[in-house]
């Protein structure tokens, strides 16, 4: 286990370094210097040259890359030339709302998908299973923003249950004050996630139900309730751990689309707005953080899986 962990960690560090390099090169090629942003569209070439020189943007790319990595190690994500403030403070300001949205919808979707998938596996081909599978198929093929627009149409415009606007508060605590309005963004994210999670959960449940130990449990006279609670649920929940570890990019993408749709002042919207002017320290910081979290998520999922299932041996 220790050997495995060390090797996995080494690979993870290599991958993270690769991610930093690829992201840096990508943005460096697309937008080599923010001089125009700072000096304005009518800046003289001489002024741009001088500014580039003063700020180190005329150095070769590996030199700039080394500086960037050096700053990263000091926890410095660079300067947002568009919003004229450090990226770190920008991110800490916007993160709480996005994190809340993502975590709330993730927890909710697990709470729904886990029992739903197991129910579908147990009652396979029943009316409930078939309707749930069909619904999952529809929502699985539906982009998050269409789900969001559908929810707005039905619950805000037709039924008038909620306001079609979300609170425009800058902060999480402010937004929580009118929690009702955060409901639709969360539901939109949850519906999409449940659609893909429950499909996995159903097949995991079916796999477990076909195992010999379930037959043994039944043969020794355990009631259905005990077979399901002691043998089925525990074993069938394991794949969910891996799935959660892998689902981060999906969650981030959904989060971005939902924040854009409902105009929520979080990281996703910040990213979309930063695209317009290649505010590339912001773009790079968000891409990096997501990628690093993905790597960590995969690692943690693998470790959790071993801890929860003694049959899995990592070598």
């Amino acid at each position: 286990m220790a050997g495995y962990l060390i090797r996995r960690l080494a690979t993870a560090i290599l991958v993270v370094f690769g991610i930093i390099l690829v992201t840096f090169l990508m943005l460096h090629i697309i937008a080599p210097s923010p001089a125009i942003t700072v000096l304005g569209p009518k800046a003289q070439p001489a002024a741009i040259k001088a500014w580039n020189h003063a700020n180190g943007f005329d150095k070769p790319w590996w030199d700039q890359f080394a500086t960037y990595v050096g700053h990263l190690f000091q926890g410095n994500l660079g300067w947002s030339y568009h919003l004229n403030q450090p990226v770190t403070s920008l991110l800490t300001e916007k993160a709480p709302l996005s994190v809340f949205l993502t975590v709330a919808s993730l927890v909710l979707s697990i709470a729904v998908a886990l029992p739903l998938g197991i129910y579908q596996g147990v009652k396979r081909n029943s009316f409930g299973d078939i309707s749930a599978t069909s619904l999952a198929m529809i929502f699985y093929s539906m982009p998050t923003f269409i789900v969001a627009l559908l929810l707005v149409q039905v619950f805000a415009l037709n039924l008038n249950w909620v306001s079609p606007n979300v609170p425009q508060d800058q902060t999480l605590s402010g937004a929580l004050g009118s929690f009702q309005d955060l409901l639709m963004p969360i539901v939109a994210l949850t519906v999409t996630a449940v659609a893909s999670f429950s499909r996995y959960q159903r097949s995991a449940a079916l796999d477990v139900l076909a195992q010999d130990y379930i037959k043994v449990a039944r043969a020794k006279g355990l009631s259905d309730r005990l077979v399901y609670s002691r043998h089925l649920v525990r074993n069938a929940s394991l794949p969910m751990i891996t799935l959660i570890g892998l689902s981060l990019p999906l969650l981030i993408a959904g989060n971005l689309l939902v924040e854009y749709t409902f105009n929520i002042n979080g990281l996703g919207l910040l990213f979309v707005n930063s695209l317009q002017g290649y505010d590339y320290n912001v773009l790079m910081a968000y891409t990096l953080i997501t990628a690093v979290l993905t790597v960590i998520g995969n690692l943690v999922a693998d470790v959790c899986l071993t801890l929860s299932d003694p049959r899995i041996k990592l070598v």
Partner: protein, 308 residues
């Protein structure tokens, strides 16, 4: 978006192959078996039907249903469904049905072309890594690991901001960033295939690596490749829709389904539902059709492999 998470393995074993196990006609080729198995799957056949409908609708539709898609009609913007415009008009006065046909051409073509590019790159990458093994394999697959950890939508957005906004730009961007899953799949397939006797035989007869890959490994992995391509098309259409929705799709006078949704999004609260939902339904139906076809193909290919 499901490019990141592979579609779940079909939970139920495809219709038991026992029924015609005794039916061993020498003429039944593997592909015929696959086709026969595929046709038994009602959802998959429905998927093909939906797809054929939309292809005809988008490409042949404009021949029969004429609408002005070149010049804006500012006197008839946001018109409700009615005579002359069965599904109303959008905020530029374009007829919605004609708009969906035009946008469908772009969305379907970009989705298809991007999926083909991704599959070609992924298949070659995976086949080379799997066949050569060792250091080459390790290096190639680390590259895949790194790119796979990058958030797809964010990267594609960054690049589209600069190089997107036209059909080929978007095809290349989407294609070049979604070959990772096929690369892993094909590598796995090649790892088992290369141990088989026919590959060893080809090798001792002096077959070069490229001959092994193109004449033996890839043809035998074709089932996986084709199954993958259908899911890849669905994902590419979804990704393009997200880009268009965020205003990074193709530019006027061309249009795609995502851009139409993005333009119409803010009009929803004005009650202009016809600008959002018809195109939304078209998008969801097409993606669903590809998913059905993919599921059906996978089951059919599985059956073929089991029978062999």
């Amino acid at each position: 978006m499901s490019a990141i998470i592979e579609s779940p393995a079909s939970p139920e074993p495809a219709a038991a192959p026992v029924a015609d196990a005794g039916d061993l006609q020498a003429t039944t080729s593997a592909w015929k078996l696959t086709l026969r198995e595929f046709l038994k799957n009602k959802m998959a056949v429905a998927g093909v039907a939906i797809l054929v409908f939309f292809v005809l609708f988008c490409w042949l539709g404009p021949v029969f249903y004429h609408s002005n898609q070149e010049t804006t009609d500012l006197l008839n913007t946001d018109g409700a469904p009615g005579p002359g415009h069965p599904l109303g008009t959008d905020s530029n006065g374009f007829d919605i049905i004609g708009r969906i046909m035009l946008g469908g051409q772009t969305s379907l073509w970009i989705g298809f072309a991007a999926a083909v590019i991704a599959t070609v790159i992924g298949t070659l990458w995976g086949a080379v890594a799997g066949l050569l093994g060792g250091l080459v394999d390790a290096t190639l697959m680390r590259v895949v690991d790194i790119l796979l950890a990058l958030p797809f939508l964010l990267v594609v957005l960054i690049i589209s901001q600069r190089y997107g906004a036209n059909t080929w730009g978007l095809i290349i961007i989407l294609g070049v960033f979604s070959w990772l899953v096929p690369a892993r799949l094909i590598r796995g397939e090649v790892l088992t295939l290369k141990m088989r006797d026919f590959v060893s035989a080809a090798r001792v007869m002096g077959g070069t690596n490229s001959r092994l890959i193109f004449r033996h490994l890839i043809p035998n992995a074709m089932g996986t490749v084709i199954v993958n391509i259908t899911f890849q098309i669905a994902d590419a259409i979804l990704a393009l829709a997200a880009l268009g929705y965020l205003n990074f799709g193709v530019r006027y006078p061309n249009t795609d389904w995502g851009s139409q949704l993005g333009d119409a999004q803010s009009n929803l609260s004005n009650g202009y539902w016809w600008e959002v939902f018809p195109v939304g339904i078209a998008l969801v139906l097409v993606v669903m059709a590809f998913n059905f076809i993919g599921d059906g193909l996978r089951d059919a290919v599985d059956v073929r492999l089991r029978k062999r």
